[in-house]
Symmetry: C2
Subunit: 338 residues, 2 copies
């Protein structure tokens, strides 16, 4: 997600989704959860449920081929897509990846993209089972559908958060966004003077987070070993603030998070300073983090307080309190306004 989408959080998409959902009648007993979560949930027989999630990525919006190697992007779309299955506390097992490209794109480049798809499928133990390849008038569009499995009682939707639940997030936030800013800056420098070389050394972490992000498989295993099932969960795709709002609205809850607790990597802070961006603004609104945001009961605190996989950034409370961030200076700001 580039700046084009940064300002749209999150009412436009949520409102559109609600309207599309309103017209979608569910008639088959196989369909358990339809539109509106990270993945649909179905039961096709047997002991487990099946999860399905579709995503679409547009050149110039979600990726810029000036600085995105197609192989990296193939890897990224799979990692991003399976994160939505993980966000249901399920195991991704299959993916379809479709591509529409203009006639100007050589077959070799399409295959580079699929090399990245294959690499991610190997990394995450996913079967690539299908996909369409067709022509576009201009640019490249990618569409994925990821399929996962889970026991019915293991599935976590985004609507189960309860007052006093701890609000947790994996990894760190804002790195992919600042990686994008860096790439955009070097692109602008290069366009102004094509003899320059891009200055990317020392920024490996944020570039990796932008160009080849990973899906969050380990935290789910950790929580299982601790016998903790999240009460709600959502993939962090469009920025932390946006996803907190989506989770709280789905659960009909409020929340309070703390600026000082939002995990931001030191490289991200360094880059933010260079760009004169407040790191918390990048962390809240950046997008493309591909982390997991979830809630767990307060009573599990002792079990998880020293874990390496996620941070507690706040807690859930009643909806009348709103959704707020407590800044380090003590100020309280509604989420979405920070």
């Amino acid at each position: 997600m580039t700046e084009n989408e940064l300002t749209s959080i999150p009412d436009g998409k949520a409102g559109l989704t609600a309207k599309i959902k309103a017209g979608a009648d569910i008639t088959h007993p196989e369909t358990i959860i339809g539109i509106g979560d990270d993945a649909a949930v179905s039961h096709y027989g047997g002991g487990e449920n099946t999860l399905v999630s579709s995503s679409i990525f547009s050149e110039g919006i979600h990726f810029d081929l000036t600085y995105t190697p197609l192989k990296h992007f193939g890897y990224k779309v799979v990692a991003a897509s399976i994160n939505k299955i993980l966000a249901m506390n399920a195991e991704p097992i299959q993916v379809t990846v479709s591509i529409a490209v203009s006639n100007k794109v050589a077959q070799q480049h399409i295959l580079e993209f699929y090399d990245g798809v294959h690499a991610a499928c190997d990394e995450y133990c996913i079967d690539l089972i299908g996909g369409d390849t067709t022509t576009s008038r201009t640019g490249i569009t990618i569409a994925t559908t990821t399929i996962g499995r889970a026991d019915e009682d293991e599935i976590v939707s985004r609507d189960g958060a309860k007052p006093t639940d701890l609000l947790c997030v994996t990894g760190d936030l804002g790195a992919a966004y600042l990686g994008l800013q860096l790439l955009e800056r070097e692109k602008a420098v290069f366009n102004a003077n094509p003899t320059t070389q891009p200055q990317l050394q020392g920024y490996e972490y944020i570039l990796q987070r932008q160009l080849k992000p990973e899906a969050q498989t380990e935290v789910l295993k950790y929580l299982k070993t601790k016998q903790i099932k999240p009460t709600s969960m959502i993939a962090v795709q469009s920025g932390l603030a946006s996803e907190i709002i989506n989770l709280c609205r789905a659960s009909n809850m409020g929340c309070e998070i703390f600026e000082e607790r939002v995990p931001i990597a030191s490289d991200t802070k360094k880059m933010a300073k260079e760009f004169n961006i407040n790191p918390i603004v990048a962390a809240l609104n950046g997008g493309e983090d591909y982390e997991l945001l979830f809630t767990i009961p307060l009573a599990t605190y002792e079990k998880i307080k020293d874990n390496d996989f996620f941070k507690i950034i706040g807690s859930i409370n009643a909806p009348e309190h709103g959704m707020n961030i407590v800044m380090e200076d003590g100020g309280i700001i509604p989420l979405g306004k920070a």
Copy 2:
């Protein structure tokens, strides 16, 4: 499919698909058939198998908004997509429909598109269970994933055709292609003189086939009542000749079809004459027919000879005979060259 894709049949896509498939390791026991047929086949438990098929549609290639109402197009993408599940002799039950549109497209137009999606879902008893809505730099791209179910022993792939099998096709061919030619002609007239009104009266059949095609559900029911299981089947999406070649190659067979037996509607013939196009060329190469091509054992002939759902257009033979069409004048032409 417009002319941009008409000349590419079918080696480019088949070769690309083969290379993508070569890198796709199958590791999960759930995956039964991966890349390469109309749909992937999986077994998630229970008595039935699950079919998954993904498609992608690009503005300017697969549709032109100058003359395609978005509601019609929403209907069309669902009909086209579920036809690939039907082509596995399976029952489509669910679909995800994703859309990438530029910021210039009003939400109202996106909802018109989904009105058509909903209408098709109602018509074919399909649950719309998900989909992504996002931004594109220019133009509209649609991606669908359709899910179906079938008993394992009912599933028909494209690789089972045997010598002497009858080669059959539903409905009639070439109508959607000539509908497209008519719409393109009237668009050109309008562009040259915007005060003119398009001349579309009397061409309702071919326009309907282009703008609001239907999926082929009835023929499968008919074959079941006759207790006939096709030996192979494929969706007719990219032109009859292309799909015959795909089916014969997958089955490692040859075939002979007869020009006089290829079903072409009278309205299609009339329009072809106006355009000075040989109707058989439109029928073989036109695309977007969304019919089903399949083979049945010769021994079933007596049961089906008077049916209203499909025509026998030829028969399967050994691969050394090649894939040929016998023209009405007695000439024999390799398929793909007619």
